[in-house]
Symmetry: none
Subunit: 215 residues, 4 copies
DNA sequence: AATGAATGAGCCTTCATTCAT
DNA sequence: GATGAATGAAGGCTCATTCAT
C-alpha cells in the first residue's frame, strides 16, 4: 500500500478540515478560506480538488460518516439483547455523536447542521447514510411496542424518540444557543439525558401501544 | 388608493413582508431587497423606517407575536380542566403555530428560525414572549406527574415534550426540508400529530414519575 | 411692519439652523435632515424653500455674514488710529469670529469650513463678503510697512497675517482637531493669541519692508 | 508583462493609487471604486488586500511618508549652519512637500487633508511621522530667538511659522481651491514663498524675542 | 500538478430629493 | 402653501470562484 501522493494528502487534509469547519459552523457560515487555512492549502485548492464548496461539502459528509461508522458504530450491542437495552444503546450513541465535541462527533454535528440549514444536494447521501440507524431504532421500538403498532404509529414513535435526541443538539452549542445557553455537555449530563430519554420514550411507546390495543 | 403619503402604510407593509420573509428564510438568508420587493417598497425603505435589518427583525418578531396572541392565544382551555387535556391543547396550539403556513404561523416559524440561527439581539424579547407558554407546559406536566418530579426531571420532561413539537418544524418546510420532504402538513395530519405527541408524552411523563417514585 | 408669515418664519428658522449646522460640520457632513430637525421643519422644507442643499448653503452664508456685520463689524476702531492698533483690532475681530462658539461666530466658522471643503458655488459670494475685511488688512499692513512694499510683497504679508489666524481655526475644534486636541479657546487664550499674532506680524512686516528698502 | 499572479503587484498599485487619490480628495471624498479604477483593479480589491478603506488609508499614509523620506528628506542642511539658514531649508522642504504636484508631494498633501478632515485612526501614525520635523523647526526658532523665549512664546512662534506654510496648501488646489483660484504653483513662485515666509518669520520671531526681553 | 493573486456579483446602508396629498 | 412618506442612486464590504503561472 503506497503512501498517498502529496496531492492526495492535501485533498485529505481539506476533507478533514472541511468536516470540522462545516460541523462547527454549518454550510453557509463555513468559509472556504477558513477551510483552506485550516488545511494549510492554497485558497484555490477547494475548487481545484473538489470543484466547488458544495461538492466539498458532499465529500466531507460522506467521509465523516465513513470514519465514525468505522471507529464507533452505532449501538454496538448484542442484537439479542432486550429491545429496551438496545434502544438505550442507540440513544446513547446518537447523543454522543451529537453532543461530544471533537473528531468523533463531526458526523453527528453535520447531521444537526443539516437540520439547521439543509443543502439540497446532500439529501440522497444523507438518507442513505442514516437509513441503517433509522432501521435499528425502528426495530427496537417495534419490539418494545410488541408488534402492536401500525406503520404510521411506529413512524411517529420513532420520530418522537429521534427528535428528543436531535433537538437537544440545538441547545448544545452549535451556533449561539437557544434556551439553556449553549453550554457543552459533561459526560454525566449526557448520561442523565440518555437515561431520561430512554425512560421517557419507553413510557411513550408503551402508552401508544396500549392505546392502539385498546382501540 | 393613494400611492404616497397616506400614513405609514409602507412601514406596515414592510413589517408584514418582513415577518413572512424572515419566517420563511431566517434572518441570514432573508434579503432586505426581497423584503422591500415583497412590500413593494424602494430598496432603502428598510433603513428609512427601521434603521437596519436587525432592528426590522426585532420589530417583526414583536409584531408577529402580538398578532398571533391577539388572534389565537395559546391553549385557551379551562384552567381547571384535567392536565392531560390542557397539555393536549398546548401541543395543538404550538403545532399550529409552527406548522400551518400563512400569517397565522409567522410567529411560530420565527421561533423555529431562531432555533436554527439565533440572533443575539432578539433573545430578551424571545424569552419574554415565550415564558408564559413555557410555564403553562410546566404546570400541566407537573400535574400529570402528580408532583412527584424533582426540578431536574420536570425540566427534562418539559424538554421532551417541547422538542417533539419543535423538531417537527424542521421537517415541515422551513428551508428545503430534512426528512419527510418538506411537505406541508394537512390539518388531519396535524391532528394526528397532536394526538400522538400528547399520548406519547403522557406515557413518558408517567413513566418518569413512576421511576422516581420507585427510586 | 407686519409680522412675517408662517411660511417665512419657517424659512427663517431653516436659515438659522443651517448656518449653525453648516458652521459646525461643514457642507458635506451637514445633513439636511439635521437642519430640518433643528428648525422644526418638515423634511422636504429645505427643497421647498431653497430648492436644494447647495442653494440653502449659499443663503445661509449670506445671512450669517449679514448678521455678523450688522452686530459686530470688523475692526471698529478709529480709522485714524495708528496702523499697528488697527491691525491688532482686525486680528482680534477675526479670531473672535473664528474661535468663539455660538451665533456670533457662525460666519467665521463658515469661512473656515469653506477652507476645509470649498463649495464652488459660494466662491463669488465669499469673495464679495470678505473683500472689505481684506482691504482693511491690506491698508494697515501697507501703512505699517511705510508704503515701501510692492504689490506682490504686500499680498504675501497679508497672506502671512491671515493664515496665522485662519489656520488656528483648524486647531480650535471644527471637526476632530489636528494638533492641540481641538479644545475650545478661553478668552484669555484668545487674547494671548491676538497679542502674539499682532507682534509677530508687525515684526514680520517690518522685516520684509526693511529688506525691500535695502534691496 | 503578466496580467496575474506575478507578486503583489496589484497591492502595490492600489497603494500608489490610494496615496494619490487620498492626497487629492481626502479620506471622505475618496471613493474606493476610484482607487480601484486608478489601480486597474477589481472593485473588491481594496478589501481583499487591506481589509477596509480605513486600513488602506493608514498604509497609504505610511507608504507615502516612507517614500518621501527616502527620496527627499526634510531640511538636509548642515546642522551647524546658522539657524536662519536651517529654518529656510525647512520651510522650503515643507512647501515643496505640500505644493508640488506629483508623487513627491503625496505625503505633504495627505498631511493637509488630515488637517481638513482628520481620521482618528491615523493620529498616532501622523504624530510619529511629523515629530522630527516639528523638533527641527523648534530648534531653529529657539536659536534665532536666542534662547530668550519661554515655552509658550516658542510654541506660538512655531505655530506662526508652520501655519504660514500649511495654510498655503489650502490655496494650492487641494479640493477646488479657496482664494487664489487653486492654481498650481510654479517653482519660481514657491521660491518666492520660501523667501517671504523665511524673512517674515525671522522678523516675527525676532520681534517676539525682543518684546520678551524688554518685558 | 498546484498555487494564490485577482475578480465581480451581490449585500446592507446612507441620504438628498421628489411628489401625492 | 406645506408636509413627510417614499424613493433610488451610490457607497463600502464579503467571499466563492477563476486563471495565469
Amino acid at each position: 500500500m503506497a503512501a498517498r501522493s502529496d496531492g492526495n494528502q492535501t485533498k485529505q487534509r481539506l476533507l478533514e478540515a472541511a468536516s470540522e469547519v462545516f460541523a462547527e459552523r454549518g454550510y453557509q457560515d463555513a468559509r472556504v478560506s477558513d477551510i483552506c487555512k485550516a488545511a494549510q492549502a492554497a485558497s484555490g485548492a477547494v475548487n481545484y480538488y473538489f470543484g466547488s464548496k458544495e461538492k466539498l461539502y458532499l465529500e466531507a459528509w460522506e467521509w465523516a460518516w465513513r470514519e465514525i461508522d468505522r471507529k464507533e458504530p452505532m449501538g454496538g450491542v448484542d442484537p439479542d439483547a432486550p429491545p429496551e437495552e438496545r434502544l438505550r444503546s442507540l440513544i446513547k450513541s446518537l447523543l454522543h455523536r451529537i453532543l461530544v465535541h471533537g473528531k468523533k462527533s463531526q458526523a453527528g454535528r453535520l447531521l444537526l447542521q443539516e437540520m439547521r440549514d439543509p443543502v439540497q444536494a446532500v439529501r440522497p447521501l444523507r438518507k442513505r447514510l442514516i437509513r441503517p440507524t433509522i432501521q435499528e431504532f425502528r426495530r427496537s421500538i417495534e419490539e418494545i411496542a410488541g408488534q402492536k403498532l401500525d406503520q404510521r404509529a411506529a413512524e411517529h414513535c420513532h420520530m418522537s424518540v429521534m427528535h428528543q435526541c436531535l433537538a437537544i443538539g440545538f441547545r448544545g452549542g452549535h451556533k449561539p444557543p437557544m434556551l439553556s445557553g449553549g453550554r457543552r455537555f459533561t459526560h454525566a449530563e449526557i448520561e442523565y439525558l440518555v437515561d431520561h430519554i430512554t425512560a421517557f420514550s419507553i413510557g411513550g411507546i408503551t402508552a401508544i401501544a396500549a392505546a392502539k390495543k385498546g382501540a
